[in-house]
C-alpha cells in the first residue's frame, strides 16, 4: 500500500511538473517568494496497516466469557485542504485539515462458558464487518518554500497535529446455541463508537504547478501521526491506537 501511495505521489509530481510548461525564467535568477497566501484542496489516500486490539469479558453461565477483538486500520480515501500565510521570506505558517473514514473488519474470538459445567469453555469466532473509523486531523504547519523554482513551486512543511478519532469497537457478542450446548455459533457483535483525541506531528512536502498567476494544481504527501487511547470495551483500561499515517493526494492550488 505504501508503494502504491508513493507511486501516486510520483505520478502527481510528474503530472504537475512538465518541463515544457516551465514559465520563462532567466537561468541563475533567484526565486523570490512573492505570494502571501497559498491554499489548496487535495483528494488522495491514507495508508493503513496499523493494528491494535481490545479484549473484554462479561459474566455468562456463572463464569466469565472472554472475547478478543483485533483491529487493523485500513487505507482509504483522504480529503484534505490547507491554508498558508507567508510570514517571512520563504517561510509560511498554515493550517491543514484532513479527513479519512475507512471501514474495517475484525474477527472476534473468545470463549463462552458452558451452561451446565464449569471449565468447559466453548470457542466462539466470528467476523464483524462494517466497523467505521473516522479520523479528522488538524495540522499546524510551518512551510518552507524551496527556492529552486517558482513553477513548479516546491515546499516542505512540518508541525504539530491534532486528531479526533471515532472508532467502532465490538463491545459484545451474540451467539446461538442448542442443546447439548457443546458449541456456540457467532451471530453478530454489538458495537459502540468510541471517540478520542490525540496530539502528534506532521511532516511533508507540497508541489504546486500553476497554469496562471493564481491557480494551479498540486500534490502533497505528508506523514502525520498521533496515538490515542480509547476506553476499552471491557469498561476498564484503554486501547491504544495509532492515528494517521502516510497521506498523499493531489488537487487544486491557489496563491495570491
Amino acid at each position: 500500500m505504501r508503494l502504491a501511495i508513493a507511486a501516486a505521489v510520483l505520478l502527481i509530481l510528474a503530472a504537475t511538473a512538465p518541463a515544457s510548461a516551465q514559465p520563462a525564467r532567466r537561468p541563475g535568477a533567484p526565486v523570490r517568494a512573492q505570494d502571501r497566501f497559498y491554499a489548496g484542496v487535495d483528494f488522495g489516500v491514507q495508508s493503513g496497516g496499523e493494528s491494535f486490539s481490545d479484549a473484554f469479558t462479561f459474566p455468562a453461565n456463572a463464569e466469565t466469557a472472554r472475547i478478543a477483538a483485533p483491529y487493523e486500520t485500513k487505507s482509504g480515501p483522504l480529503l484534505g485542504f490547507f491554508f498558508d500565510v507567508r510570514v517571512w521570506k520563504y517561510l509560511s505558517a498554515g493550517i491543514s485539515f484532513t479527513g479519512h473514514a475507512p471501514e474495517s473488519d475484525t474477527q472476534v474470538t473468545g470463549t463462552i462458558p458452558h451452561p451446565f459445567f464449569f471449565n468447559r469453555p466453548r470457542s466462539l469466532s466470528g467476523d464483524v464487518s462494517g466497523l467505521e473509523r473516522g479520523e479528522s486531523g488538524v495540522h499546524f504547519q510551518i512551510r518552507a518554500l524551496l527556492p529552486v523554482s517558482r513553477n513548479p513551486q516546491v515546499s516542505v512543511f512540518g508541525g504539530p497535529s491534532f486528531f479526533q478519532v471515532d472508532q467502532d469497537l465490538a463491545t459484545g457478542v451474540h451467539w446461538t446455541e442448542t442443546y447439548p450446548y457443546d458449541s456456540v455459533s457467532f451471530t453478530s457483535a454489538m458495537t459502540e463508537t468510541r471517540s478520542e483525541s490525540g496530539t502528534g506531528f506532521n511532516i511533508g512536502a507540497d508541489v504546486g504547478y500553476f497554469m496562471s498567476r493564481h491557480f494551479g494544481v498540486g500534490g502533497r504527501v505528508q506523514y502525520a501521526s498521533a496515538t490515542v487511547d480509547f476506553p476499552s470495551a471491557s469498561g476498564t483500561g484503554s486501547v491504544q491506537s495509532k492515528v494517521g499515517g502516510l497521506q498523499a493526494g493531489g488537487g487544486l492550488r491557489v496563491r495570491f
Binding site: 453461565n61 456463572a62 451446565f116 464449569f118 450446548y181
Partner: protein
C-alpha cells in the same frame, strides 16, 4: 430523480392503503412485502419515510444462515419522538430488498411537547407503582387500542409485586398501560453439593427468585422441595393433590446451598445429558417425557425421630405412576444425622441425591419402564436393577475422573452417600467389580432363589453387574475363576452401548439372565461385528459369571 420516484411510490402506497382500508382513516399501516411489485412499492415508501426522518435505523443485523443479507430494523418517529413498537424490518441483499415487514402508526397528528417534565414523570412513575425506577422515563408516542395514540412517558418500575413497564400520560393524565417485564428467563445458578463441590444449575428466574426448573434441556426437568412436609409428599406421590408453584425448589440469590436440591437437580440433568450424548436418547421415554424429582420429604433428624419408613429416608426411588396425573417421579431421601449409623451396615447415610450413580440409577428405572419394562421380580427384576446400576456407573465414568474418593468414578454404587462409619464398614451399597463384598452373588451358581426382595432383585443383580464390569475391565470372576478379555477402560463406551441396546431395545419384559446374555451378544454383533472385541468380551463375561 430517485427522490421523486420514492416520493411518488410513497404517495401510491398511501393511496393504496387508504383504498384498501374502510371508510375510516387507517391507523395502522401493515407492511408485508415479499413479491417484487410489493417490494418496489414498500421499499420506496420506507426510503421516503427515512428521508423525512420518520424512520430511523435502529440496527443492522446479519444472519449467518443467509450470507450476504443485511437486515435493517427501522424505528418509526413522530416529530422526533419514537412510536412505541412501530418498526419496519427490511431484509436486503446488496441493497435490494428481499422482504419488508412492519407495522406503523399512520396519520399521527398529536403534538409532542409534553406537559410533564422528565422529573415529573419520574415522580409520577414512582407514585404509581412504588419502589424503584429501573429504567428512566422515555418520552414516546403510545399507540392505543382503538387507533388512538397518546404522548406518554415509559419507564420500568420494580415493586414488591414485580417488575413492570409502566406508561403514564405525558400531559398529566392517568396511567395508560402497564405490563410485567418479568419473562420467565433461563438462568444458570451455582450450588454446593454433598461433597462440597460447586455445580452449575439450570434454573429459571421468576418473580425475584430462582426456581429449580430446567428450561435449557429439552424436557421439563423440575425439582420439587417438600420442605419436610411428609404429608404433602405422600399426597403428591399418591396424586391426591397437584403441584403448587411454591413446591418448586427455590433460592433467593441463585447461589444454592440446599445439598439435596443442588445435587438432585444437577445429577438428573447430567444423566439426561449422558443418555443424549452417549446413546442419542431423549430422556425417559425417548420423547422427552417430563422429569419430576422430589426432595426433602424428611429431614435427617426426622429420619431418627419420626415414625417414617426408611423408604423415604435412606432410600431413593423411581415410581412410574406416582405424582399428580401419574406423571412419574423420582424421590431422594436425606439420609440420617451425621452422628448416626445404620445398625445393619455401620454406615452413615447422607443425602442420596448427592451420589451421581444413585440419581442415574433411579432415572434409569424410568427409562426401563418406558422401554423393555423388565418385570420387577426374579431374574427380570434383577436385570432391571442391574441395568440401573450399570448406567449409574457409566454416568459416573462419563462425568467424573476415575478414582476412589468422593465424586470420583468407580464400580461402587452409592459410595458418595453411604459412607463407612463404624469400624469395618465400607462405602457404598453394591459393587460391580466385587459383588460378593456386598453380599451379592457374582455367579449364577450362587444366585439367590428365595422370595425376599421380589425374588432377590437387589441381590442377584450382582451377576449381570459383574458381567458388565468384566466385559470392560477384564480379569477373572472370583467364583468361577474364568478370565475375560475385556475391551479396556478406554473402550468402555462399546460395552455401555451394547448393554443399552440390549436392555432398552432387545429384551422382553420377562427376560432371564440367559436372554440377557444372548441379547447383549447380539447387540455387540449389531454394533461392532461378529468377530469384534466387544462380542468376545461380552460372551466371555457372561460365561465367567455362569450364565449360558
Amino acid at each position: 430523480m430517485k427522490r421523486l420516484t420514492a416520493s411518488a411510490a410513497a404517495a401510491v402506497v398511501l393511496a393504496l392503503s387508504l383504498e384498501s382500508g374502510s371508510a375510516q382513516q387507517p391507523s395502522i399501516l401493515r407492511i408485508s412485502a415479499t413479491r417484487l411489485d410489493e417490494l418496489r412499492r414498500w421499499d420506496g415508501y420506507v426510503s421516503a419515510r427515512e428521508r423525512a426522518g420518520e424512520l430511523k435505523t435502529l440496527r443492522v443485523d446479519r444472519d449467518p444462515s443467509v450470507p450476504g443479507r443485511a437486515i435493517e430494523r427501522l424505528q418509526q418517529y413522530h416529530q422526533g419522538v419514537p412510536v412505541w413498537g412501530a418498526q419496519v424490518v427490511r431484509d436486503a441483499s446488496s441493497g435490494v430488498a428481499e422482504s419488508i415487514f412492519g407495522e406503523l402508526s399512520a396519520s399521527l397528528t398529536l403534538a409532542t411537547t409534553p406537559a410533564l417534565s422528565p422529573d415529573d414523570a419520574r415522580t409520577r412513575l414512582l407514585e404509581s407503582a412504588g419502589a424503584t425506577l429501573l429504567r428512566q422515563p422515555q418520552l414516546i408516542v403510545l399507540p392505543m387500542a382503538g387507533g388512538d395514540a397518546r404522548l406518554a412517558y415509559s419507564g420500568v418500575v420494580s415493586s414488591d409485586e414485580g417488575i413492570f413497564r409502566v406508561f403514564i400520560d405525558a400531559n398529566g393524565g392517568p396511567e395508560l398501560l402497564r405490563y410485567s417485564e418479568i419473562h420467565t428467563q433461563s438462568a444458570v445458578g451455582t450450588g454446593v453439593g454433598l461433597s462440597g463441590d460447586t455445580k452449575k444449575l439450570s434454573v429459571v428466574q421468576q418473580a425475584g427468585q430462582f426456581l429449580a426448573d430446567d428450561r435449557l434441556r429439552p424436557p421439563s426437568l423440575t425439582t420439587y422441595d417438600m420442605r419436610a412436609d411428609f404429608g404433602r409428599l405422600l399426597n403428591l406421590l399418591n396424586g391426591f393433590i397437584p403441584f403448587a408453584p411454591s413446591d418448586v425448589a427455590a433460592d433467593a440469590d441463585n447461589a444454592w446451598t440446599d445439598v439435596s436440591a443442588v445435587d438432585a437437580h444437577a445429577h438428573i440433568g447430567w444423566t439426561y445429558d449422558y443418555y443424549f450424548k452417549r446413546h442419542g436418547r431423549q430422556g425417559l421415554d425417548d420423547r422427552n417425557r417430563r422429569m419430576v424429582t422430589l426432595i426433602n420429604g424428611v429431614t435427617p433428624q426426622g429420619a431418627v425421630t419420626l415414625p417414617i419408613s426408611s423408604q423415604f429416608t435412606i432410600n431413593a426411588f423411581w415410581c412410574d405412576t406416582c405424582g399428580p396425573g401419574g406423571v412419574g417421579t423420582m424421590y431422594f431421601g436425606n439420609g440420617i444425622p451425621p452422628n448416626f449409623s445404620l445398625v445393619s451396615t455401620g454406615q452413615n447415610v447422607f443425602q442420596l441425591a448427592g451420589a451421581l450413580d444413585v440419581a442415574a440409577h433411579e432415572l434409569t428405572h424410568g427409562v426401563t419402564s418406558s422401554s423393555s419394562n423388565l418385570i420387577y421380580l426374579d431374574e427380570p427384576g434383577a436385570l432391571n436393577e442391574a441395568f440401573s446400576d450399570i448406567i449409574g456407573t457409566a454416568v459416573e465414568f462419563y462425568f467424573q475422573t476415575p478414582g476412589t474418593g468422593r465424586d470420583q468414578a468407580d464400580y461402587l454404587i452409592g459410595e458418595d452417600a453411604f459412607r463407612a462409619f463404624r469400624p469395618g464398614s465400607v462405602n457404598g451399597i453394591r459393587s460391580l467389580e466385587n459383588p460378593r463384598a456386598y453380599n451379592q452373588p457374582d455367579h449364577y451358581s450362587t444366585r439367590f432363589t428365595g422370595r425376599e426382595d421380589n425374588g432377590g432383585v437387589h441381590i442377584n443383580s450382582g451377576i449381570p453387574n459383574n458381567a458388565f464390569y468384566l466385559a470392560i475391565e477384564g480379569g477373572a470372576n472370583r467364583t468361577s475363576g474364568r478370565t475375560v478379555q475385556g475391551v479396556g477402560a478406554a473402550n468402555r463406551e462399546q460395552i455401555e452401548k451394547v448393554f443399552y441396546r440390549a436392555f432398552v431395545f432387545l429384551l422382553p419384559a420377562n427376560a432371564t439372565f440367559s436372554t440377557a446374555r444372548a441379547a447383549t451378544i447380539q447387540a455387540a454383533r449389531d454394533l461392532y461385528g461378529a468377530t469384534s472385541a466387544p462380542v468376545t468380551a461380552v460372551t466371555q463375561a457372561w460365561t465367567a459369571v455362569g450364565v449360558n
